[in-house]
Symmetry: C2
Subunit: 453 residues, 2 copies
């Protein structure tokens, strides 16, 4: 899930170079020592940075002693690669040491056959937990939650809860909240550990309960879970079924990964590249990007069909060919600004039905105003350049048309796609450039045909 | 800091419409009741979505009863607007109810004069705390930390610490770790509350201490702090001075805001729009975006100067004018893919000196391969279209040149900018389009001049 191993201070280019040299020299002991001195995140960062061949060599070296945490920190493409090299026993050994949510994450993308083999290697209890999690849909809260939490009945006192915590040996260190449930396991609320610690022993635990704490339904989409954490500044959040029975808990660190991924995805999707592009191999990358380029080729061809209609005009005034890309390019840039703000606004829930109209009006006004500014600038420059005020006027008018069109297309396209249930981040820019190219060439060459020929 | 108020379930378009109608009808009581029924985040979302005039009206209504949390949730531009309407007394009243870090966040962008007025209204202790925080640079860990934390001497036993916690009345609910310091206040480590709760009273607290916990220096950049939280999956992190004396603690919820902002900034910067664009008024937006468009205009003019050199060729073969935008546009798109991956890789620390060469080689190979694919596609189409195989060969060759140029420019530009200390997210695309436009037109028109005339 995580990916995004940041170059920690420990993983300097020198460290990576040392490891590469040790591997190249076949000095296994040194390579192992160097890698094992690093944190899990550091190890993941090294595995991502070295070449594929050396990666295979390194994994072979570490094998059974592989730090399971390292696997969870790897970028997806790299992890798939590493998992392919490990057999079911190795992966099961790693899964056993991880929290349920991380173990699920590790094996969820493997073929079902291999999943079964790995699960067969695990102790019954853990197998059952992972199987339960895998039964929830991808990207649901159920996949993100961990099952180990402190759950106490609402009939207990603070003293009883404290004694229970002190006697239970298997509680994780990162317990921040005690969850209180009723007789049938329905969530009544939670008590922060700090609050409980400051309360006298005979007080009923239920008196400390905050009944209004947010909880999420197990089928809730992970993006929504991330929004909830962000909006309410949560550290952990209980997960319940549709009868409000407590099933698990989601911790903030897992959500940070989701937030990270989402923001990264928007950026990458708008450029038509995959989330793992950085680590995919050359053929994968070429194939994925070629699709996007093919779609953009269609756009470019449509634009050139428009130009084709004005061959006669261009033959007579060749300056039109020189100037026409300027109009199209300014429209494309202005439209991209609008689309980016709209896509981000939709993703963050800041652009809604309530303010869409105001947004459209503002964007049209900005487009018109900037159109006017650049019409004067460009019109004046063309007049100075070619000494023809009519040519200047035509390019100015075309500029206004295209920047207005860019503003309208830049708002209506993402809003329309969102309404149709299509992700606006992926396809908005393609449609936008089609509009700004077509309108740019059409307005400029069309006005030129009318007024200059 | 936060911004990004997500449309919570509570803030449906209907709720916003009701509030707008109540305000329009001058029905103050109803408007207040509707707004005050919402959470702080919900209120912020409403304030962001309604028009500026209604926003002023609503703030006027709430004034002294304004939920201080709401102010911290507002997008920066909107918050500046709201703060302008409030006087120092109102703002001081709000600041008093907030944690230090949020209070600092609220007033840090105000003019110094006003800051002084607000601080004068605060109790001495809180004033001192805020003044200390304001003394740290913008975007430093010092601005992000809160001062309230549980700090105990390393000579205490677990029992003494528990008693201390139970007697202290001013401890916040969100205590997750106990920090242990030596006689002169230097950090020795931290103990998770959960671990302490499971330990016998006579055990020295120092035995439970995890001495390797990460800490940050007070002057550390916030982006680095965010990376640390993400890499180590932290919930809180102590802040120390350069002699390792404990100064405060940073909580994960404040860091989520930083991560959010960073990812958003990359996306927006690449399109040349400001982070608050959604909420800036029309004039501000027009001005900010005009700068970006002006820079892009220079790019477009350079490209058209290149075309201008080939007026003779275009006059003879007008098809060149029709086809040339295709070559330039494909280069621009392919280059944007590479730049996006590179910018994101640099920001996440995944693209480093250790793997830069491998990245460049891979991108060049992908560019060459896709160039070849689209050379055949486009060359064939042009042959079919114009029945001239030489024209097809020329556009094919130009396509390969430009996609290769796009791959190289797409890697070298962001790497070079980063090396020069310039943010690659902001200016990479401008330089890139200049390259792909110039090379696109030059290769196509140049080859045409050589082989077709």
């Amino acid at each position: 899930m995580s990916g995004a191993a940041h170059a920690l201070d420990e993983v300097t280019p020198e460290v990576v170079r040392h490891i590469e040299e040790a591997l190249a020299a076949g000095n296994s002991t040194e390579a192992r020592t160097l890698v094992e001195a690093l944190s899990a995140t550091g190890q993941a960062s090294v595995v991502e940075q070295i070449s594929e061949a050396q990666r295979d060599q390194l994994i072979e070296l570490l094998r059974r002693d592989l730090d399971p945490e390292m696997l969870t920190e790897l970028d997806e493409d790299v992890r798939d690669d590493v998992l392919e090299q490990l057999d079911s026993k190795d992966i099961a050994a790693a899964a056993r040491e991880l929290d349920t949510d991380d173990a699920v994450n590790l094996i969820e993308d493997l073929p079902e056959e291999e999943q079964r083999e790995i699960l067969a290697e695990l102790p019954a209890e853990e197998r059952a937990e992972i199987e339960t999690a895998l039964a929830y849909p991808d990207d649901s809260a159920g996949r993100l939650m961990q099952l180990s939490l402190v759950k106490v009945p609402d009939s207990w006192t603070v003293g009883e809860v404290i004694d229970y915590c002190r006697e239970a040996t298997d509680l994780p260190d990162d317990v921040y909240d005690i969850f209180v449930v009723d007789r049938v396991g329905r969530l009544r609320g939670s008590v922060p550990l700090g609050r409980m610690l400051r309360t006298k022993r005979p007080v009923p635990i239920v008196d400390l309960v905050d009944p209004d704490i947010p909880s999420v339904q197990v089928m809730t989409d992970q993006a929504e879970v991330a929004h909830l954490f962000r909006d309410k500044n949560l550290v952990s959040c209980p997960v319940v079924d549709d009868t409000r029975r407590l099933l698990g808990v989601i911790m903030v660190d897992d959500v940070v990964d989701v937030i990270d991924e989402e923001a990264e995805e928007d950026l990458l999707k708008m450029a038509g590249v995959g989330a793992d592009d950085m680590h995919a191999n050359m053929i994968q990358t070429t194939r994925r990007r070629a699709w996007w380029l093919a779609i953009n080729l269609v756009t470019a061809v449509i634009a050139s069909l428009v130009i084709g209609q004005f061959e006669g005009a261009i033959e007579k005034i060749v300056a039109l060919a020189v100037l026409m890309p300027i109009v199209a390019s300014m429209g494309g840039n202005a439209g991209t600004q609008t689309v980016t703000v709209a896509v981000r606004g939709l993703a963050m829930g800041e652009l809604t039905a309530a303010n869409a109209l105001r947004f459209i009006i503002k964007e049209a006004a900005v487009g018109g105003l900037n159109g006017f500014i650049f019409a004067i600038l460009m019109g004046g420059a063309v007049f100075a350049w070619y000494g023809d005020w009519r040519l200047g006027a035509v390019i100015g008018a075309a500029m206004i048309c295209n920047l207005l069109a860019a503003a309208l297309a830049g708002t209506f396209i993402p809003l329309g796609l969102q309404k149709m249930g299509v992700d606006p981040a992926v396809s908005s820019t393609v449609f936008l450039t089609t509009v700004t190219d077509v309108i740019g060439f059409l307005a400029f060459l069309g006005l030129a045909t009318i007024f200059l020929l």
